[in-house]
């Protein structure tokens, strides 16, 4: 049930789910993905951190709804036909937690070999580099591999 958040644990050829936010493609290791569901109404939590603005009901379990766009410095999203909610199984601060997040689009599952992962370029990336583990080129496009621990931490230093 509890899964390692630490990406270092992932094996050589890890499977990752790719999804898009604001036209960029991100990837997250598949072992953290519990399910992908259609968007549901979100209950706002008053005075909550903008990173975790609400809660949703994932088939009888209440999951915090996090806004990765906010942490990445993107504007709020409109829900489109392609939008999906990713339900993730994470260990947040040592606690097994189900977390829901909205993605503009869920693309594919791809294999990301360790050897293919390139370090984050110092320049040319507009979000905090500590949230990112590296980048992979897939069919000529850049896929950004998230550092799950940092990207979904309850508080972000920057």
């Amino acid at each position: 049930m509890t899964k390692e958040t630490a990406m270092a644990e992932t094996t050589d050829a890890a499977m990752a789910l790719t999804f898009s936010l604001d036209g960029e493609t991100f990837a997250i290791p598949v072992e953290h993905v519990s399910e992908i569901i259609d968007p549901l109404p979100v209950t706002r939590a008053p005075n909550a951190d903008p990173f975790a603005p609400g809660l949703i009901n994932v088939r009888g379990a209440i999951a915090p709804f996090v806004d990765l766009r906010h942490r990445l410095g993107m504007g709020p999203a409109a829900i489109k036909d392609q939008s999906r909610v990713l339900v993730l199984d994470l260990a947040v601060a040592g606690e097994a937690t189900k977390v829901a997040m909205l993605a503009d689009n869920v693309d594919d599952i791809t294999e990301t070999a360790m050897a293919d992962i390139e370090p984050v370029p110092e320049l040319g990336i507009r979000w905090p580099t500590d949230l990112i583990r590296g980048v992979v080129k897939k069919n000529g496009a850049l896929v950004i591999l998230l550092d799950v621990g940092a990207a979904f931490a309850p508080t972000h230093a920057h």
Binding site: T43, P46, A48, F51, I62, P64, V92, E95, T97
Partner: protein, 649 residues
Amino acid sequence: MTSPADSFIQEATDILEGLEAILLELEAEPESAASVDAVFRALHTLKGSGAMFGFDALARFTHHFENAYDQIREGRARVTPELIQLSLASRDHIERMIDAGPGAGDDPASAVLVAEIEKLSGEAEPAAASAPVTPKTTQRFTIRLVPDALALRNGTRLDLLLDELCELGDAVVTCHADRVPRLGEMDPTVCHLWWTIELDTSKGRDAIDEVFIFASDCVIEIEESTPDATCEPVPAEIGSQMDAPARVEAAKTPDAKTAAPKPDSVRVQSQRLDELMDQLGELVIAQARLNRIAGDLDDVALAGTAEEIGNLVSGLRDSILSIRMLPIEPVFTKFRRVVRDLSTELGKDVALSTRGGETEVDKNVIDSLTEPLVHIIRNSIDHGIELPEARRQAGKPEQARVDLRARQSGGKVLISITDDGAGLDAEAIRARAIERGLITPEVEMSEEQLFGLIFEPGFSTAKTLSSVSGRGVGMDAVRRVIEDLRGSVDVRSQRGVGTEVTLCLPLTLAIIDGLLVKVGTESFVIPLSSVEECVELPPDDDVRASGRSILHIRNELVPFLSLDRLFGFERLHSDDRRVVITSVDGRRTGLVVDEVIGQHQTVIKPLSIYHRGIEGLAGSTILGDGSVALILDAAAIVKRAQSALKVAA
């Protein structure tokens, strides 16, 4: 999942808990034969079932301990404070041996304790030998032992029973094989044999009953006769004897105090109760959904059925909650030992009195309570209560008092720990808080607020560190545990007179009755326990909301605050807004909401780490339509609003 050894461990743990209480009673009343018997019986049970489940080292050790009490029972030794001390130490030792598990070897500590036990009872023996102990006359008993056909399968060790009987005196054991069937028809796992035993013993009838204490699946008849009478009552018909009335159980009952209390109860793993509770939670949610559908469809038959189911569910809820409710007494009993050991260690004379042990609290609350209570009591004895010398100078009785009291008040349980010690020193607390950087020197604080500082992390006023407290990790842990239980801690103290710490806890953790309201477009649940009434918000009051918001309710002024503003929600322009009047610490405060939907039974789901820190939220729940609603903590909201007002002023 439950192995026989597990159920032994569970049983033994209960016995040890009881044993501690009896030993402490015995300390208070050393002459109580009933208590001595109860100790002996507890030890005998431990020895017997310990050996049965492979705890051999434990059984060997307990045997010596049991012997000591046997000597007291027979008047050959006396109960002394040293014996009680040693008995308590032995009890703890047995506890450790149980933790070590079955099959563990002899602990070196066993030998040390055994030597001390033997020294104590050995010293008493020569004196007893010369003392005119009433000699017990030898009696002859004729015992018929007819095991149940399945006794061997159940693990009854008939050989051990017979051995034990033979140890009591001169015994002639006759085995009867008349019921053994022909070899072809014989099932070797069924017991076909029965016995008669002619026993000459001076130990009396009770000793024989002790032997059969576990032999519940045997029919046992004990007849007493004079040693000379050569009677050979071998009945021809066994079948009629199976229902013979003279069962051992019946013989044991007269002494209600020493007979182990065996209420008509079933042991259930608490995890199963938790599962039951979870399922009930789902049922409550499904029922809310059904109500909603029934309301939408407007069908009389469906509405009637939904209402009926609603009543059944709330009945079921009450029953399940009551299963989880346990009296707090066993927790209190544990503290008699804590107080005793601690006061001995610190050279203080402290008497603990408890009241309201019958008060029932949810099992989960009870499980979490022990640790905070230990901290508070240790603090009371270590820091609060003065040394006997100081107490004499202050004109107080040398023996200090610690009162542990529980009572129920509305939907809450109040547990207070009161001592008649030196009380809290507000100035010392203030100085310490400044030193620790908890407050700045220019801050003005009431005494009450200063007392609250002792619950801050890293606060400790003890000048010297003792083994029990003074590391400054106690009281903040207390507050954390109590707040996790949705409770609160309150301290009152008077210099030189004493200190009272009161814990206020909810009766149950899982389900609450709430008032479902709407603020803006979102639904919230306000726990009904903090709601007094709902009133309409007069439009003109609403308009003046920029300044101080005060309502007139039956000649009383009640301040109110708007939840939408507090939550930073956009304002809905509805004209029939309501005010939910809450009562927190006896003070009334109104919370303005857009709509009051009605009463709602709510299963509390804890908040995730992302939302746990938000002040004013107590949890979340799923409503009938599947949406999520947040449960408000009225007390925290009111407090927050008050401190916000103070900052503004």
